[in-house]
Amino acid sequence: MVHLAYLMLLLPLAGFLVLVTFGRRLGDPVAGVVGTVAIGGAFVVACFVLAGLFGLPDNGRVVVDNFFTWFQVGGLTVPVGTLVDPLSITMCMFITFVSAFIHLYSIGYMKDDRDYTKFFIYLNLFVFSMLLLVLADNLLLTFVGWEGVGVCSYLLIAFWFERESAASAGKKAFIYNRIGDVGFLLAIFLIFEKTGTIQYESGPGGGIFGQLHHLDGGVGLAVVLLLFLAAAGKSAQIPLFNWLPDAMEGPTPVSALIHAATMVTAGVYLLCRMNPLLHVTATGSEIIAVIGAVTAFVAATIACAQQDIKKVLAFSTVSQIGYMILAVGTGAYIAAVFLMVAHAFFKGLLFLGAGSVIHGLEDEQDLKRMGALRRYMKWTTVTFTIGFLAIAGIPPLSGFWAKGDVLDNTFAHFKPLWVLGLLTAVLTAYYMSRLETLAFGGKEERFKKEGPHGEPALHEPHESPWVMRLPLVVLAFFAFFAGALDLPWVHTDNLSSFLAPVFASTLYNDHLGGGAEWALALADIAAAVIGVIIGWWLWRGEVVYQPKLEPAFLQRVWYWDDFYDTIIGRPAQRLATFCAWVIDVRIIDGAVNGTAQLAKATGNAARKLQTGYARNYALGIAIGMALIIAFMLSRTWWG
């Protein structure tokens, strides 16, 4: 059964092909059902593969299947194959599961959209690419999936491309990702140059991981940093995080699936996959850890001051992935994967809940225009609250265990980063509490009044249909209980013991005593509770515009976009203007027009020869003849 992994790829691909071919005829809602069934099938296959993997001994759970050779050039052979091991199957399980439910949700959310079918085409293609990224057994095939999800992300962010903002947000995401992709490509080149292979586990010389000795020192550090650049692009880390908030222009299910649960964790996955390489150089891991922690903190502060419900969640996503990157940097890969799984559930849930709110409020996304929605949307309120408590880190929900795992390892590894992580935890609880209080809490139903800029009052919100409620309930269940995957006092048959062989030699293990673990857990709980209470206390009232709590510095994302605009955007624009008006107009056009002018001048001079008088031509003939004769005579006399 473990060799069935290719079916997991083929089902979404088949769904994509069927929808591309017959989609328009199937229409609403059959096209959505087809898409959902394809992904549901992939989930079932993933379950079978997982069962097959359990049937193997603990240390032999690496199954590489090569199907055919993609191409062969020089010393490079690129096979198309799958690598099934605990890491990739864990990814596949939650990707297919969350995707299936988000597909189901989309059937309701995208109802009556003009491009209903197109949406599911992109979504199926996305899931295919994501699974390819995860299951590929070599770097180049991973890169194909990596680019595939990038394209789908672009297409789906710009899904409502008639809106100027959506179109440019798509472009922004694409360009930021390209910067990361350059890092990825260079890393692949460098690895191939040094080891002669791009396969992870199998292939010549035992794959990349069999030849790590070729990748030590400066080369190893360069490869790690290039891979991290790729991860930073895809997973929205400093310095490439700005695209993710803008990506919220896409439909909400897209934000939930691609920009919260799955694609943005691809960078974390890549780093986990390359863990033996990361272990070669300590410096690289330290840089990764610091950037992860700083990103987590910076994004959390920004999330505290956002007005748009989806923007808060977007910065929250950046912040949570920062935690994952921090965990990767400290060598706590299992903690990173654990948080990734838990995050997929609770952040997917939060986005779907936000989508339900937006759907119910006629596409209003401004937090300050909501309030007391609990009276209108009971299902959404309950499930969203579970997601909120989970991300805030309230026990016994999943977020507490996952985040606790990351913070424990950081504490044991490097204490200043732990302080930053704990501060981030307080901020996380605070901004989520603020969001919850503004949207669902409070007495005043602000959507009944006019907006601050004279927007008309909104209709009474309505609860969403069952296709949207069911995913909320299911994800809420897992957001609540996913912590059970890896409880700290259980040491066998859990996520840790399952994943441990993948990271066998490289895993950092915090050897904290029971007392220290209890103390840290209490600190986590205190951080969460303090954050939640402050958030509720400050925002429970009816005054929702509090500029002191939302400084422009935070609203404008630490002026990060303006900074890039100043150092890159404007100079580039000036360069483009220079090229357009000086190089193009003067030099290039000058050369082209100059050639034309020259031909014209020559013609003007030469036209005088053409008088139109027959006698002039006859004279020309006569002179020519005389010259020829003179020449011939001269040859005769002096030749």
Binding site: A606, R607, K608, L609, Q610, T611, G612, Y613, A614, R615, A618, L619, A622
Partner: protein, 101 residues
Amino acid sequence: MSLSGAWYIGLAAIVFTIGAIGLLVRRNVLIMFMCIELMLNAANLTFVTFARMLNDIGGQAIVFFVLVVAAAEVVVGLGIVVTNFRRRETTVADDLDSLKG
């Protein structure tokens, strides 16, 4: 008495020069035509002269060809002149300058 070949060549040169100068200085298309004929016949005369002098019949044979070509050329040329006169009411060569650059 018989004249030497040089006389004939000299006559041909004179006739040719008259024709060439006539072609250059006259404006009337018909006159210019006649001048061309003069030049052609001057050439014919040299052919015949050299044929006699060198005892080579080829020179005389060429003359027949020249005569035929000249006749054909006159037919075409006069046709053009007549047509042109009908359209523009002129036989002055300098009025026909539509090919001017």
